[in-house]
C-alpha cells in the first residue's frame, strides 16, 4: 500500500506539472484535429477502391489519429523525464526514503493519464465530425483502454531513451524512432492494398496489429479474429517494454 501512496504523490505532482503547461494540452488536441483536416477530406476518394472496408474514411482514419498520437506520446514522455533528470529533481526524489519504483509508477501513470485525455479528445472530435462507432460504447471504452496501454508501453521506450542517453539532443529527436512505428502501418490504407517492401515492413511492425484491432472495433465492431492478434501483440509489447524499462530504471538507480 505504501508504494501506491507514494506513487500517488509523484503522480499528483506530475499531473500538476502537466496542467501547468496548457499549451502542451492544446497542441496535443490540435495536432489530432489537424490530422482529420489534412488527411480526412483529401483522401476520402480512397474508400472507392475495391476491397476498402468502409465508406466512411473519417472513421477509418480515427484509429490512425489515435494510435499515432499515442505512439508519439512516448517521445513527449522522454522529454518530460529528461527535464526532471537534468534539473536534478529526480535526484531530489531519489534522496527521499520512498521506494524507487513509486517514482517509476507515478511517471508511467501520468503517461497513461495523458493518453486517456488525448484519446478522449480525439474521440470527441471524431463524434463531432460524424464518425459512428460500430463497437458502441463498450468499443469506445476498449479503444481507450487499449491505446492507454499502448501509451504506457511507448512511455517505457521514452523512459529508456531519457535514462540511457541523458541527452537533450537525442531525446528531442526521439520522435524519429517513433515515426516508423507510427507510419509503417496500414494507417491510411488497408494492408491488403499495400505492396512491396512497405507491405512487408508493415507486417513486422507490432503497432500495425494494435492499429488493426482498434480500427476494427471502430468501423466493424467486435470482429474477434481481427481484434485478438492486436490484443496479444499489445499485451506482449506491454510486458516486454515495461520489463525493459523496469530493468533499465533499476540499473540506473542502484
Amino acid at each position: 500500500m505504501q508504494i501506491l501512496r507514494e506513487s500517488s504523490y509523484i503522480y499528483v505532482r506530475n499531473l500538476k506539472t502537466w496542467l501547468a503547461q496548457p499549451w502542451m494540452i492544446v497542441a496535443a488536441v490540435l495536432s489530432s484535429a489537424v490530422m482529420y483536416l489534412f488527411f480526412g477530406e483529401p483522401l476520402r476518394a480512397i474508400t472507392n477502391l475495391p476491397g476498402f472496408p468502409t465508406s466512411d474514411y473519417q472513421a477509418f482514419l480515427t484509429a490512425m489519429v489515435i494510435v499515432m498520437a499515442v505512439v508519439f506520446s512516448g517521445s513527449d514522455m522522454a522529454m518530460v523525464l529528461l527535464t526532471d533528470i537534468m534539473s536534478g529533481y529526480v535526484d531530489k526524489l531519489l534522496l527521499s526514503p520512498v521506494n524507487r519504483f513509486s517514482i517509476l509508477l507515478g511517471t508511467l501513470a501520468i503517461g497513461a493519464t495523458r493518453a486517456v485525455a488525448q484519446v478522449a479528445a480525439i474521440l470527441l472530435v471524431a463524434t463531432v465530425i460524424g464518425v459512428r462507432f460500430a463497437g458502441g460504447f463498450p468499443g469506445v471504452l476498449a479503444v481507450t483502454l487499449a491505446t492507454t496501454l499502448l501509451a504506457v508501453a511507448m512511455g517505457c521506450v521514452g523512459l529508456i531513451i531519457a535514462v540511457r542517453t541523458r541527452s537533450v539532443q537525442v531525446t528531442v529527436n526521439s520522435w524519429l524512432l517513433f515515426m516508423p512505428l507510427a507510419f509503417l502501418t496500414s494507417a491510411f490504407m488497408p494492408r491488403e492494398l499495400l505492396t512491396g517492401w512497405f507491405g512487408i515492413a508493415v507486417g513486422l511492425n507490432p503497432v500495425e496489429y494494435i492499429l488493426v484491432a482498434v480500427r476494427t472495433i471502430i468501423i466493424e465492431g467486435w470482429m474477434w479474429e481481427q481484434i485478438l492478434p492486436g490484443l496479444w501483440v499489445l499485451l506482449a509489447t506491454c510486458a516486454v517494454l515495461i520489463s525493459a524499462a523496469t530493468f533499465e530504471y533499476r540499473r540506473a538507480t542502484n
Binding site: E6, K16, S87, D91, S96, P97, R166, A252, T253
Partner: protein, 346 residues
Amino acid sequence: MHAPPAVRVRGLEKTYPGGVRAVDGIDFTVQRGEFFGLLGPNGAGKTTTIKILATLLPKTAGRADVAGIDVDADPRAVRAGIGVAMQEVGLDDLSKGRDFLVLQGRLYGLGRAEAGRRADELLELVGLAGVGRRRIGSYSGGMRRRIDLVGALMHQPAVLFLDEPTTGLDPQSRLAIWEYLDKLNERGVTILLTTQHMDEADRLCQRLAIIDHGRLVAEGTPAELKAGVGGDLVRAAFGPRPAEADGADPADDDTAAAALRALPMVRQTDAAPDGITATVADGGAAAPEILRALHAAGVPVAALTVTSPSLDDVFLHHTGRQIRDTDADADTDARVWGQWMGVNRQ
C-alpha cells in the same frame, strides 16, 4: 550506552569508471550536534563524499555510517534520517514553493496537515512566506537556494548534508543562509557542510577537515588548524632607500631574511611582495624585536602588520597551494544521475 556519532567514515574510497580516484581513503567523525566542514577546492572529493553518505553513490571501499547505520546496509533508513541539499539545486520550476515543500514532507511520511504546517513554518523561517504560492521558476538564485535548503528540513532530520550551500550567491543571500544554518545548529541539527570558501568554513564550522585530491590533509577546529600553521604572521613592508625612487632593493630580501632568522622567536620567513613575512608564536611581542633587527640590518621598513593566520594560510601550509589556484577539475556540474549513467565525473 553512548549514541553513535552522526557520521563516521573509515577508509572511504571512490574510484569512478575510467580510473579517476575521487576519494582516496579518508577517515573522519562528526559528533552529534556538531557543525562540521569539509573544506577543499573543486575536484577535491567533497561532493563525492557527501553523495556516498547520502546514499546517492556507491563507494568503492571503506565504511560510512550515518547515525550508526551503514549506508550500504540500509540506505532507506539512512535517507529517512538525513536532509540533503546538493550544490546542483534540484527543483521543480513549475511547482509552487509551498507545494514543493508539502510534497517533500509527504515523501518523508508526514501527514497532509503536518506537512502544510511545517511548510508554512519553514517558509517563514527563510523569509519566503510571501512567495510560497508563486512558481519556483520565478524565484531568484538566493530564493531557490533557500527553498531547496528548507526542502531538506521538512522531516526534521537529525543530520543535514549541505554541498556548497552558498556558492554563486550574492553576499546578502549568503549571510542570510549562514544565519539560518546557525539557527538550525543551535536547535541541535548536526550539519556536515562542504565548501571551498575559507570565510564560510571559518564563520560556521566548529570543526573542519581539509580535503585535497581525495585525501584529508588536516583536521581540527579552525583555531587549532590556524595554530598549526605556527603562530602569528608579522609582515614588514620595505620602504624606499633614500637614493631610490621605486621600491625595495632586491638585496633587502636576503638581508632581511638573514636578520630575522637570527631572531630566536622567528620560526619561518617567507618572501612577500615588497616585504617579508615572519611566522612567530606571539606577534605582539615579536614585532618590536623584528623592527629593531631590520633597522639594525639597514633594511628600511615602511609598515609592520601583525595578523593571525587565516584558513587560506592553513590550506597553503598543508598543500603548498592556495585554494583559488586549484579549481582545475570542476566537479560543480556533476549530477548523481551522471554517475549512474556511467559518466565519469567527480
